[in-house]
Amino acid sequence: MARRARGLSDRIFWGLCALALALVILPALAIIGSLLAQAWPALGGQLFTSTTAAHGLQNAILGSLLIVLGVLLVAGPIGILGGIYLAEFAHPRRGSLIRLGYETLAGIPSIVVGFVAYLVLDIEFHWGFSLLAGILALSAIALPYVVKTTEVALLQVPTTLRDGAVALGLSRLTALRKAVLPPALPGIASGLVVAMAICVGETAPLLYTVGFSDANPTLSLFRHPVGYLTYVVYNNTILPSNLDHQIAAAAGVVLIVLLLILIGIGRLVSRWAARYSASLPT
């Protein structure tokens, strides 16, 4: 009797787990499926060879990549160094003040960050719609993630590893480089990937700061608007023609592929970084 009841509750439990899993996976599949169906007629080489002026996405893809690369270069080093400082060097009181700072920054809605960046950088500094203004606005959004994940990854490294390095007479910097950082790198890398994924998907801050352009982006940081993928999704949806809608869906597909590539790169970096670590992801 008791065993029968246990068997039944077991089955109910696993049933609920399967249901929850389905609730997570099915919507994702549904979104990707309908996006693909929508985009199907437009999917082709011209997406990569023509600009948005000629029903392609070349300028938007290049623009999105350029913006994300910029965020990686700005928010990456600053965020990682900030996280290292907080986890390894900061006095507890100063640390909590800095934490308050970035947690506040993380809570500001991205459209507000974009608006402020627009007022200060585009208007006050006379940068106009520009690549750099967009990169800085998105960096402000990415930075708290990078700092936080770096700090958490470092705090998870066991103290005995630090002790071992310090007891050998290594400097704190060498101890960090040789003993503490390697096991934290996978966590730091995945934090970077999440931050970049967020930036690839942002729209509002870019509407304010980089505007949009049908032409391919240049490397000039100031006074040149830049095209990017999320704008195409947003803007083409309100255009009348069917082809425009297909291009919007195609931009969505390209965004998802970009995310998958980012995640893949993150995995590779993590694996490489953890090659000597205890928990090798095999």
Binding site: L161, D163, G164, G169, L170, R172, A179, R275, Y276
Partner: protein, 259 residues
């Protein structure tokens, strides 16, 4: 009360009326002890009495922890290691440490052994490989790792990892070696191996090891220091201590009675 000091022979390290507190929590209450040169001292006492805390004072491992207050003196070759002029990193090279759990660096096996010596500038460029091999042979690990020097240390067994950590500590040619319950997480074979190594260091190096295994202390130590509640209650030659300690509290501990 001070532990009686046996002042015969050369003293390599000594602790003089040492107090230590973590914040407001006082953990060491005036510990005095000495560690004779080239001899093996076993530090014993119930869990929580401050053995690890004392051991970490001997190479200033408490330095970077906020809120640790230390009073009193720790002497190495008669010089106060807490004096302002001490080169702390050089001190830690001279006073090496092996921890309770193996903690190899997340680097290749080779790098684990060579890093310290390289940083301290001990080995000439061309001799790194041969010196690393010699150290690994010393701890009896060479045959197990010779084919995977570039591999991760975490594929080794726990005992082998601890031997690697010992090799890492010995590679920087310390004068004093501190071991904090070095065998408590190891199998009997690895334990015997570590004990033999402690024996082989006698005369060459001053060894202080913490252990909960009284047989181990009796087998391997020249001197025993018994600690209780943050004080060194008794220090005596090992044979004498285990034959019959003078302090009633040591007696109680040996018999497994509460003090």
């Amino acid at each position: 009360m001070r532990a009686p000091l046996d002042q015969s022979g050369d003293v390599k390290m000594s602790v003089d009326d040492l107090f230590l507190g973590f914040g407001r929590r006082q953990v060491l209450h005036g510990v005095s002890a000495h560690f004779p040169k080239g001899q093996v001292t076993a530090l014993i006492g119930p869990t929580g009495c401050g053995k690890t805390t004392l051991l970490r004072c001997l190479n200033r491992l408490h330095d970077s922890r906020p809120g640790v207050r230390i009073d009193g003196r720790v002497l190495l070759n008669g010089e106060d290691i807490y004096h302002r002029s001490t080169d702390v990193r050089e001190l830690r090279r001279r006073v090496g440490m092996l921890f309770q759990r193996p903690n190899p660096f997340p680097q290749s096996i080779r790098e684990n052994v060579t890093l310290g010596a390289r940083i301290h500038g001990l080995w000439a460029r061309g001799e790194t490989e041969s010196r690393a091999e010699a150290v690994l042979r010393d701890v009896g690990l060479w045959d197990a790792v010779r084919d995977r020097l570039s591999g991760t240390p975490f594929m080794l067994s726990g005992g082998q990892q601890q031997l690697l950590c010992l090799a890492r500590a010995l590679a920087v040619e310390p004068e004093v070696l501190l071991l904090d319950e070095p065998t408590s997480s190891l199998d009997p074979h690895s334990t015997a191996r570590i004990e033999e190594l402690i024996d082989s260091l006698k005369g060459r190096m001053t060894v202080v090891f913490v252990t909960h295994n009284l047989q181990q202390a009796e087998r391997r130590a020249d001197q025993v220091v018994f600690m209780l509640d943050g004080e060194a209650v008794e220090a005596a030659p090992a044979r004498q201590f285990f034959a019959g300690p003078t302090d009633a509290r040591s007696q109680a501990y040996l018999e497994g009675r509460p003090a």
